[in-house]
Amino acid sequence: MARAASIPGMSRRVGVVQFPGSCDERDAVHALRLVGGEPELLWHADADLRGVDAVVVPGGFTYGDYLRAGALARFAPIMGAVAQFAAEGGPVLGICNGFQVLCEARLLPGALTENATLRFVHREVRVRIEAATPWSGDLAPGATLQVPIKHGEGRYVHPDPDGLAAAGQVWLRYDDANPNGSVADIAGVTSAAGNVAGLMPHPEHAVDPVLGGTDGRALLAAASPAATHA
């Protein structure tokens, strides 16, 4: 199922999808470069991933988040190519709004709704690794990381969070306090095959020591030169 695996040690080309209303695409590019990847922006209207080794759908407010967060972006031409890439086992990561887009596109289970507080919230949170994905590399379950969240619609909902966990698809949980009312403290999930992952926290905003912590690097492992496809 896996696409041609990159050679360990080779720089990995990572496509960052830019939609109208994407806000954190430059941040993602900056972060992916810091972890040793070779990032490039992919335009929403092109149905072509240009042969990248991994795809990141970044944060922001695609199409203004009108209707529902992520609801319109799923119809963009590039999403067909992303779905195809995901089906072939390619690593895909949705961050914040990107997570919302991937849920709306049904590449990830569940949905994201308005925070229980009904307010946007930006703060540092601690998350706990619960399962393996190409994006968290060899981080063992139980490891915790400090990363920021910043969202108004980050309350994860799913009818069967226990079943999801049993299937190994709960990737991250809020470790100390649940900031948005997410069911079962879920902060990130994966597809059944594990190659598609989404999370509300922003690993790309925890990579640069000049700006703060660097725990987020561990959640971008699929972009680093050592990575191979799962």
């Binding site: 806000c23 941040d27 946007f120 919230v121 930006h122 910043k150 969070p161 059944a192 922003h202 700006l211």
Partner: protein, 792 residues
């Protein structure tokens, strides 16, 4: 539309033969639009005939206080605006300063006070959008926002509703448009209950060579309207809302003004930013102006007038939301997220294609013409034909009458006559739940302060510190940065407008210097009451004097700003409230100095002037004793300048572990903030010669608290002595979470932090964290999901 609609080099199309039809009942209409009889006569004389309805509309908004600065102009001329660091001063959409390496920074502050009272969420949101477009108009990528906010007090339900709505509005727009909100300030005072102050400062980065100007260049250039369709929202916002007082708080008249508030769409704003930046980068525009107050009328008149040229616009081409709009409504609409670009006909197709790619509407609506006339046509008829300069730059100016501003309690001596507290520690705690002294987290958490990957120090410090991205927005390319702070203090300015203004400038610049950045330039938002009341005008004039003196002494010329008059409700004026933003430059952001204590056993010193009796106008006197009184201790601007230079030098030499400015609440607040943010405590000894409460709560000027590694203390003392700045030992950083003050007692920092968390939370109508249940909210049920799982 294609370029063939505007044949190259043809100049103006043949003018339509008729002059505009005179407005029916022109003088009654003029009065309704807020024009005085004299102003109306002047319009008649300029036009040489009875003006049309469209012309009256244009003149009335462009000659409004908000657009023309007719009352403030003669005073603003006294402000210093020059300096080698200033690339663009007042007059353009924003000031631009040189920060080195070929990069320049645009910054300006604006207000959206009146709309934010009428409709808090949209009023604040469009205020953010408006200042972002001012920065964008200069060719700069907007990279940061700061929001100085002032509301009535938390026990007033209207003020809580306004405060909550304003914060939501700023977040809703700023977060979604992808510009981080990195700082600001909040204050509460009954004088703002009917007139909240919502000021917004935006910072942008631009290549020195890429600065854009709102000026026509060539006859024959096509005027392209970029962005949203034009609707009936915000018609007369500038003249109706911002250039008159409210009769009563939240009354029917206020409600009736709600349609005058514009409605913002951050998604459209985001696309407009990206589209315009691409147009600049490809050098496709020869002039650009945003459409804020007075919309098409303002942008066309200003660009034509600045070049001494004319412009001709066909209003039939303007895309409308409501086709029934009258010509004057189209001209005066303040629909948001619109820009007017001037484009050479050869580049028109490329401009339209670029905008199409970003999903932004772009429509050629007219062209630059020879001569000086601003001509608008509709349905083949000329509806407006007047000299552009008479509208944009030759409006009336007033030297309004002044009478002394005398605060009834300004001559009292609270240092002598206010009884000392029996328990200064209890007063210390009581001080901390004023929003001014409180933890701003409940506001700051609602803003994205991280997007753009430039925020080295965000909300909560003395100044925000930003690592500059490249002009194309790429982060992480340099360690060069800027620090930005805003400050205002209406209560102190009410006691003494000139001295208050000097101290506000000093504080904002000192905040910047505390981070290690060298203050470069300033911007100000002058929030005042009704200028037709002579004492208000006098306070304004004295404020200008104070601002000018301080900006000269501290070498922070004023590169732009905003005046907001008529902040008066029910006959009561707000305190004179100049809000000053200062921008500084720092070569290496990794050397920026935090406000928080860093290590136990570091020495704590007071740099600058020693603490002097200074309870006049202090937060303690106001918040704990309910009294606004006293003569402010005068600032010595030479001492202030020396202190700021010393702070920058010490930071550059890596000698400061922390530095934090002393102002609102005095040392009592400064020490708590440095300790709480650092998760540390301190052992302190008061300066001699002062009563304990004076030492804690005095707001005497030109002071900063620094912590210094023991091994660096001697070097700091020597540098201070060489700079002629006092360096007073206060004690040392300690691990225990308390401030232990010799002869006074202990302040428990856990208790202090619980107090700090109340002020701003209450203002937003939130339960204070200490009063809230400890368990975090967990949902009791989950709505049906979109889909249980996905094909993989």
């Amino acid at each position: 539309m294609t370029s063939t609609d505007y044949p190259e080099g043809s100049g103006a199309p043949a003018p339509a033969p008729r002059v505009p039809a005179p407005a029916p009942q022109p003088d009654a209409l003029a009065t309704e639009l807020g024009l005085t009889g004299e102003e109306y006569e002047r319009i008649v004389a300029t036009c040489g005939r009875t003006p049309s309805t469209a012309e009256l509309g244009t003149y009335s908004v462009m000659w409004s206080e908000h657009c023309s600065y007719k009352t403030s102009k003669i005073h603003l001329r006294r402000l210093p605006t020059q300096g080698p660091q200033v690339l663009v001063g007042p007059g353009e959409n924003a000031g631009v300063v040189d920060v080195g390496d070929g990069l320049a920074v645009a910054f300006k502050i604006e207000s959206h006070n009146h709309p934010s009272f009428v409709e808090p969420v949209q009023g604040a949101a469009t205020g953010v959008g408006g200042i972002i477009r001012d920065i964008l108009t200069m060719g700069a990528r907007p990279i940061a926002l700061l929001d100085p906010l002032r509301f009535g007090e938390a026990d007033d339900p209207v003020s809580r509703r306004v405060a909550d709505g304003v914060v939501r509005g700023i977040g809703r727009y700023g977060n979604a448009i992808g510009v981080p909100t990195v700082g600001g300030e909040v204050d509460a005072d009954p004088c703002y209950a009917g007139n909240p102050l919502v000021n917004v400062l935006c910072v942008g980065v631009v290549d020195r060579e890429g600065i854009q100007y709102a000026k026509a260049e060539r006859v024959g250039d096509v005027a392209v309207l970029i962005g949203q369709r034009t609707g009936r929202d915000g018609i007369g916002g500038a003249s109706v809302l911002s250039s008159a007082t409210f009769e009563d708080a939240d009354d029917e008249a206020g409600q009736a003004k709600r349609p005058n508030v514009q409605v913002g769409d951050p998604f459209a704003g985001k696309l407009l930013i990206e589209a315009c930046l691409e147009l600049y980068q490809r050098r496709l525009v020869s002039g650009i102006q945003d459409m804020g107050a007075a919309g098409i009328a303002c942008s066309t008149a200003e660009m034509a007038s600045a070049a001494g040229l004319g412009m001709r616009v066909d209003l039939d081409r303007v895309p409308l939301r409501e086709p029934s709009m009258e010509s004057w409504e189209i001209l005066c609409s303040e629909s948001q997220e619109r820009m007017l670009a001037l484009v050479h006909p050869d580049r028109l197709e490329e401009v339209l294609a670029t905008c199409r790619r970003w999903g932004v509407d772009a429509t050629p609506i007219g062209e630059v013409t020879d001569g000086d006339r601003l001509v608008f046509t509709r349905g083949g008829e000329v509806v407006h034909d007047a000299p552009a300069a008479s509208i944009a730059h030759e409006g009336p100016t007033y030297d309004r009458p002044r009478e002394p501003w005398a605060h009834p309690h300004a001559h009292e001596s609270p240092d002598a006559d206010e009884p000392a507290p029996a328990d200064p520690i209890a007063d210390w705690l009581a001080l901390l739940d004023h929003p001014r002294a409180s933890d701003p987290t409940p506001i700051a958490e609602q803003y994205d302060s991280a997007v753009g990957s430039s925020t080295v120090a965000g909300p909560g410090g003395d100044a925000a510190v930003l690592r500059l991205p490249a002009a194309d927005g790429t982060p992480g390319v340099t360690l060069r940065g800027v620090a930005v702070a805003t400050d205002g203090n209406g209560r102190r300015c009410a006691l003494d407008p000139a001295e208050g203004a000097r101290q506000v400038v000093a504080e904002a610049a000192r905040n910047v210097a505390c981070t290690g950045a060298r203050p470069l330039a300033s911007t100000n938002n002058l929030n005042f009451g009704d200028p037709t009341r002579p004492p208000v005008m006098e306070a304004f004039a004295r404020t200008i004097d104070g601002l000018g003196e301080a900006c000269r002494a501290l070498d922070t010329p004023i590169t732009g700003g905003n005046v907001s008059f008529y902040n008066a409700t029910g006959g009561t004026d707000i305190h004179p409230t100049p809000v000053v933003g200062v921008l500084g430059a720092i070569d290496d952001v990794t050397a920026a100095v935090p406000a928080a204590f860093q290590r136990a056993d570091d020495a704590i010193v007071l740099l600058g002037a020693p603490t002097l009796p200074g309870l006049a106008g202090s937060l303690w006197l106001w918040h704990v004793r309910g009294r606004l009184a006293g003569a402010l201790p005068a600032i010595d601007l030479a001492v202030e300048a020396a202190l700021q230079r010393l702070l920058v030098d010490l930071a550059g030499d890596g000698l400061l572990a922390s530095a934090h400015d002393v102002t609102d609440g005095g040392l009592a607040v400064t020490l708590v903030e440095s300790a709480v943010h650092g998760g540390l405590g301190a052992d302190l000894t008061p300066e001699p010669g002062l009563a304990p409460h004076q030492w804690l709560f005095s707001e005497s000027p030109s002071r900063a608290v620094a912590s210094v590694a023991p091994g660096d203390l001697e070097a700091v003392r020597e540098a201070a002595a060489a700079a002629g700045v006092a360096c007073t030992d206060l004690g040392a950083v300690a691990t225990a979470p308390r401030l232990r003050v010799t002869g006074l007692g202990d302040l428990d920092l856990g208790e202090a932090q619980r107090r700090r968390q109340r002020g701003v939370a209450r203002l937003l109508g939130e339960p204070a964290p200490a009063d809230a249940p400890t368990e975090t909210a967990a949902p009791t049920e989950a709505p049906a999901p979109a889909q249980p799982d996905a094909p993989a």
